[in-house]
Structure formats: structure tokens, C-alpha cells
Point group: C2
Chain length 282, copies 2
């Protein structure tokens, strides 16, 4: 890493409140959120899961009516906003694929347009009724600031997901989420934030989770957006159930160095020959 400037990156997560099946309103909300994040100098902006559509669907037809293909205008809007500063935005949407299937996807949009689309591979609860599970590994996208991995919500609860992205070179992982509110003991962080902290430290990657707020058809949300550094400590969090931006600056050079001391390295110390249970389809 000598001979080049440290690529410090400001990350922003916009904990907003999409409205179910209100596409136009959600477009405006997302545009305002991206603009605000650009205003604080963000190079990576993370929006919630299914930010274009809302989450609590009642039936498949409803999801299908909200589903977008990759030519949808919303991605042009995002591109136009981020292009002047070469920033990148990651946000969720219901994707209508060319074969007619619908996926719970996240788009990575930069100055040149859509850089990648990730189709969520671990579906939560009723999502299994609406969506086809993704069939491809989560992407590692080369961006102006470094290598970006993408997951969506429940994927974080599979330690395999973050680990595999880190092995494949991801330095920062953006995770659009819609975390339904879960009980937690007094004084504890939401469990999902504890997963983010542990996962970041175990693989020495930055993790940025963007949750949502706003009661939707009776569902409440955790509102637990957080930005976690490679040591697993929370740089910014919004563990209250209100809307707003969180932001923090990270040094991605640190994510490229997996050494803990002269003898240990979190990735090189792995023993893949002894991990067969993880990939055995049993």
C-alpha cells in the first residue's frame, strides 16, 4: 500500500421509510436521501432493501406490479445524482427478470450506470412466497474507492456470506436491510448489529448495514443501521427507530491487510481442508 494515497471513504446509510407500493413517492424519497448523503461527502451510499417498493406485500401480483427491470428510470436517476462525484449507491428493488421471475435484488449504481445487480440468495419468511432465490454468488464490484461486496438483509445471518466475500477480495460490504423488530434484552444492541460487528472483525472488512423505519401494514422495524470498521467496532449507528442519515469515514487500506501479528492472518490461517461440512450438500 506504499506509493499511493490511502483511499479514505465516507460511507453513508440512509435509514428512510419506503411506503408500500408507492413507487413515485419512494423515488422522491430515495433521490432526496442520495442528495443528502452526497452533501456530506459520501462516496458509498447505502439505501434499504426494497427501497423502491416497500416490503410488506400481500400477494405475488402486488410484488410483480412493483417489479423493475434494469432499464427502469430510477437507476438513471441514481446515476445522474452520483456521477459528478463518482460516488456509488446500493439500494434494493424487486427485480423483474427477462424470464419473468421476480427477485429480491440490490442494484449497485455508479457514474456509468448499473455496475452490478445482486439477487438475494437467502430469502426471509414471506419473501419465499414472492421471490425466486438468487442463483449466483454475491458480487464483488470494482468501484472508484475499492472492492465492494453486496448482501441483502438475512444474508448477514449466514456467516458463510460475509466470509466468502472477504475471501474473494471485498473490502467493504454494503447490506441493504429491512430488519423486522425483534426482542432484545435491555442494554443490548439488536442481534443483527452484533452479527455485523463480529462478521466485520472476523474477516477484517468494513460492513455498512442500512435498515429502514416506518410502520408498514403493522410491521415495525429495528432501525439498526450501522457502519462497522475492520476491528468490529461501530463507527456510526442509529439504533433508535427514527429516520435519518448515519455516516463515517473508513480507511479501506486497513481492509486489505488481514494480518493480526507476525504469525497470524485471518484469511491465511483458515483450514479449508477441514471445512467440508460447510459445502457438503448432505
Amino acid at each position: 500500500v506504499t506509493g499511493r494515497e490511502a483511499p479514505r471513504l465516507r460511507i453513508a446509510c440512509q435509514q428512510i421509510a419506503p411506503a408500500i407500493c408507492q413507487q413515485e413517492e419512494n423515488r422522491r424519497t430515495a433521490k432526496a436521501a442520495i442528495s443528502e448523503a452526497l452533501g456530506v461527502g459520501a462516496g458509498l451510499i447505502v439505501l434499504p432493501e426494497l427501497v423502491t417498493s416497500g416490503y410488506v406485500f400481500r400477494e405475488s401480483d402486488e410484488v410483480r406490479s412493483e417489479a423493475l427491470d434494469r432499464a427502469a428510470g430510477v437507476f438513471d436517476e441514481w446515476r445522474e445524482l452520483v456521477a459528478p462525484s463518482d460516488a456509488v449507491v446500493v439500494g434494493g428493488f424487486p427485480e423483474l427478470a427477462s424470464d419473468g421471475r421476480v427477485y429480491n435484488s440490490a442494484a449497485v449504481v455508479g457514474a456509468t450506470g448499473i455496475l452490478a445487480v445482486y439477487r438475494k440468495i437467502h430469502l426471509w419468511d414471506n419473501e419465499k412466497r414472492w421471490f425466486t432465490p438468487g442463483g449466483d454468488v454475491p458480487p464483488v464490484v470494482q468501484t472508484p474507492f475499492g472492492k465492494l461486496g453486496v448482501l441483502v438483509c438475512y444474508d448477514l445471518e449466514f456467516p458463510e456470506s460475509v466470509r466468502a466475500l472477504a475471501i474473494r477480495g471485498a473490502e467493504v460490504i454494503a447490506i441493504p436491510t429491512n430488519w423486522p423488530l425483534c426482542p432484545q434484552p435491555a442494554g443490548e444492541r439488536p442481534a443483527v448489529m452484533i452479527h455485523a460487528m463480529s462478521a466485520a472483525r472476523l474477516s477484517r472488512v468494513c460492513v455498512a448495514c442500512c435498515d429502514r423505519v416506518g410502520t408498514e401494514r403493522g410491521t415495525e422495524w429495528t432501525g439498526g443501521s450501522c457502519i462497522v470498521d475492520v476491528d468490529g467496532w461501530v463507527l456510526a449507528e442509529r439504533a433508535k427507530r427514527d429516520s435519518g442519515l448515519i455516516s463515517a469515514e473508513v480507511d479501506l487500506v486497513r481492509a486489505r491487510d488481514k494480518a493480526l501479528n507476525q504469525h497470524n492472518d485471518v484469511l491465511r490461517d483458515r483450514r479449508p481442508d477441514l471445512y467440508g461440512a460447510l459445502t457438503d450438500n448432505g
Copy 2:
């Protein structure tokens, strides 16, 4: 699980202070610790890593002089203590193998003697100078209370380790540790405890980490023993650097149910076909 009594289990972790190269003193300390734990009704007793020898060795000859084979008297002492109540003790020792190699091992001792020996597969720092890394997957041991997995210390920092044990049926995972003291922000738990919380919840297994205390040749320890339930919440902890027992009762029936709701199951939702990066040796 109908038709049988819920196998409630009291777990005890004995956060004691082994003394480097003081085998006789360490035997007495371990015996007293086991007796105290039996006195509170423990069915599973976890002792620290390398509890028979201490940890901060100066040279290989020193380790070798402390290394024990499986016929060592200390394991008979542990067996005699736990036999009347059918309890199980897990504790670390430097193992002298029949081929002359030395491993950082943990013994699982029950009423019938040694039930399993696990040789640590992820070695920390100078351990790489003294020990041969284990060549076998961590064991899942059938015990009177259920299926016990065993890891040692740094193994916990490989999410692959806990996950693979859970896939292989472990309901509770005992982790003898010697966690060197690391910095943490004010108000945060030690990072290793955050890993234990996350790992337990992700796979819905109980996790019992037994750390040590006592300055040894200048090294200080985290003293972060903890017992974590299948929801990832801490039932008992000793996050102060003092010696003593922690104990909690767990319901292992809960560890056999991996369902989160009618659609989700933490193990069945895995996508092993997409986790190839984890076992690729390339």
C-alpha cells in the same frame, strides 16, 4: 422432542489462573475448580486452554517437558471427580502424541474416562513455534446431556468452526481459551465475547467459553468467560479480570430446533452450492 424430559443442563466455566510450568499446582487448582463446579450442580464443566501447564512458554523444550499423553494421571483425577454425577469436564493440555509431536489439545473427560481429545487446528501467535496444528475436524461428542462440540480459543475466530460443528449436530460448544488482553472501546464487551454471541445465535447452539486470569510472564488476559444461549444472549459472564466460577442453566432441546418461523431454518436455509469460496484451497 416429545415424550422425553427436557435435558436441562447446568454449565460452569472456571476462570482460574494456571501457573506456567507448575504441573502439580495446576493439578490441584483444576481439581478444586471441578469440585466447586460439581457443587453447583454442573453437568458440563469447562476449564481454560492449557490448564495443566500454563501458556506463556519460552521455548519448545519447555512445552515438551509439560506435555502429557492420554494416560496421564490428571485425566484419571478429572474422571474420578465427575463420575458420581455423570458430569463432563473439558480442559486444555499440551499433548505429547505417540509420534512425538506436541499439540495444543483439549480433553473431554466423563465417567468412563477420556471421551475425546481435540487438537487445535488454528494456532495463535507463538503457538505456531511450539505446537503442530491439528489435522482432524473438531469432535462432536455424545455425552449424557447431549451432543458436545469442542473448539479451543482462536478457533472461535473462524466462523467456519462453529458453523461446521452445528451442522454436524453439536448442541453446545465448549471453548477452553487463553485470550490475551486486547483493547476495546469503553462500554463494549471484549470482541471475543461478541464473536461468541453472534456465533451462538447464527447456528442456534449454546456456547461456553472459559478464559483464564493471572498475569503470566507479563501477559495479561481478557478474563472474558461467558455462557451464551441459542439466541445469542449472555446468560453468565465474567468480563472482569478476576478469577471465579460462572454458571448458567440451558435447555438443549432449544438447540435441536433450528427453525426461526414457518419459512426459515438457520441450517436448512444455507446455500452450500454457493459457498465454494470457503473450501477452495486455491
